[in-house]
Symmetry: C3
């Protein structure tokens, strides 16, 4: 039996000592908050989008997170190059298909990245993840997905057909590679009243991927860590402004031992 909590604590400990560099090409809305998330937890963010420096940035970074939350043509070019560089150097990379399904432009951008350079992990909410399968004959069924448990089979199919790890976040989170599926509990409803919490989850997974080779374990541990930060924040703050400040505080102050003891990850 795998002790997921123990793994989570150990990965966090390695992050704090290695201070891995996570390269993010992300949307304007969350750049500041996700940089602060990475710094608070003990990692090092680099935000850079210029085509001219993708190669140099790739050399000094330990993982890549691509987030399509605010797109434009030139940025998409840089995203593709960054993903190719990650793939060719064996660096883990995560795709956050923000708003996929909401506009054709985003769905197509996400699918293009997936088709040309398969990400190590794709993390999104249920409707974003399901939108990635709509062109492959899956029914979307977005409206019928109220509990992550109902998404397990679809997410498994997508993971299996793509050959990657899918992380679906929501009230509870799901991580699956098609064979193994883990449910992660934690977090707090106030997270829905703060911008960029999904994007924050993605960069945390990006940091965990640098210190754990198994992306299923890395993603589940990262989501358990973020969920715990939200829970701890909610003990001190009941309103979203203060809640987010306390979430950042918790990402800094949660110890590996605390994460080991409180991570709630179970197989399904």
């Amino acid at each position: 039996m795998v002790h997921y909590g123990e793994s989570a604590g150990e990965i966090l400990e390695r992050i704090r000592s290695a201070r891995p560099v996570v390269h993010s090409i992300t949307n304007y809305v969350v750049m500041n908050s996700t940089a602060n998330v990475l710094l608070a937890m003990g990692a090092s963010p680099i935000m850079a989008h210029a085509l001219e420096e993708m190669e140099d940035i790739s050399k000094i970074s330990n993982s890549l997170v691509v987030n399509i939350g605010t797109l434009s043509k030139t940025w998409i070019e840089s995203m593709h190059l960054a993903c190719r560089l990650a793939l060719s150097t064996g660096k883990p990379f995560l795709l956050d298909p923000v708003g996929s399904g909401a506009t054709k432009f985003r769905t197509q951008t996400a699918l293009n990245i997936i088709m040309t350079t398969l990400p190590t992990v794709i993390r999104g909410n249920a409707s974003e993840i399901l939108s990635l399968s709509s062109q492959r004959g899956f029914t979307r069924g977005v409206d019928s997905i109220h509990h992550v448990e109902d998404a397990v089979e679809t997410a498994r199919s997508i993971a299996r057909s793509l050959g990657t790890v899918i992380a679906v976040t929501g009230e509870r989170d799901l991580v699956t590679d098609g064979d193994r599926s883990l449910i992660i509990e934690g977090g707090h409803p106030l997270m829905g009243y703060v911008t960029g919490t999904g994007c924050a989850a993605s960069v945390i997974v990006g940091a965990f991927l640098t210190q754990e080779e198994d992306p299923v374990i890395a993603a589940a541990a990262a989501l358990a860590f973020f969920g715990l930060a939200g829970e701890k924040a909610s003990e001190e703050a009941k309103t979203p402004g203060s809640f987010w400040v306390k979430t950042i505080d918790a990402l800094y102050s949660i110890t590996p031992e605390e994460l080991e003891a409180r991570a709630r990850i179970t197989g399904v």
Copy 2:
């Protein structure tokens, strides 16, 4: 006699239950903070600026807020398209002419939007609003405007000549369509020490416009709501960092009843 406070409370209640989608094309400086403002109050922000997805974004949004705080050519194109789409689908939209009057580029951009697709509401500070009239034979008189009361006549003329609603924010706020003019009291001087409070006022008006057909009532109610949030924040925080956190908290925790009881909107 109109009970403005009652209207304000009712609109807020409708927002909280409808969670309307407010599409913002706004400046880089405030994207994070205005997204948090909308989420905290109970609305749903979408930030998107790519020409390629304007049509899809328009379909899923309930109102549009265009803010010219950090401009570039490609963004202006998207702003125009978004405004045309809002106009053609009968969706309310607000223009925030940030820095109009300070540079010709901004004044011209604001005027072009106004001339081609008349916004439902234009919200700015006194000098921004007055800059919009300078090319139409109004004297600017920016330096002489110390109290919003002195701007009433000019704002009325602009509203009447354009045929739209003008909201002038400052120590006190003014909303007018040329016929009806309302003064809104509230807020706190610390708002001047935090970036993006004007932009925050604009997206709040954008949210209120989705749930109230009369833009004069919607804008006045929105400004009363934001003013009350500032007042409540100032009861707990005397310095700008903490003050802004508490303002976000207040946008979440103010109830419709509280807004109804404390909104200070009077005809003039």
Copy 3:
């Protein structure tokens, strides 16, 4: 003997009464936080990057801060124009070469700005500053720089060869024009866990440059002020989210007298 603390207090007092306009062309990550830094301390930020409005923005601003943290070609053009305008109108301007040394694109961009329009002050961390000299026969020695004292000679050489003022920030800060060198103490390790603290230091120097003609004095006073804000914040907050909120609060509440009494600036 120069009383640096007294100078610092006096400059802060002048800023609070003049509310100087600091034009920033800066990276997406810190736009919100540096705007809040400037507002909290009593200055006025303008963030603008469009080539079309550089001239008008230059006319209404009192100093310029150029930060290369997230680059793209069109922005570099605007940076060059803004620097030329500052130079031709005798306005102080600061270059923050974020990430110089990490990518050739950034090093080259920083060097191009320096070569064509020599900034009044260049502020960076040790590795950024040393990267600016690597093409001129200095050894980089980044890895050997653990204390700012070890960087004094190199920074002096760079300042002398360029003919400008160099500010190196780190655990302790150094300001030198090649002849005079000042060490500034203050700050707190938590600053390393918040994004944009270096960028914040830069805009504060940008504000101080508007009220003090000697850039060595202005930069040292600014860094002492920011260091004191960090120290005061650390007395109330032990975690990075709360720490940054309290830092903004301190920038607002530190009085000129307090800065005079607590600034720790010494010649070296």
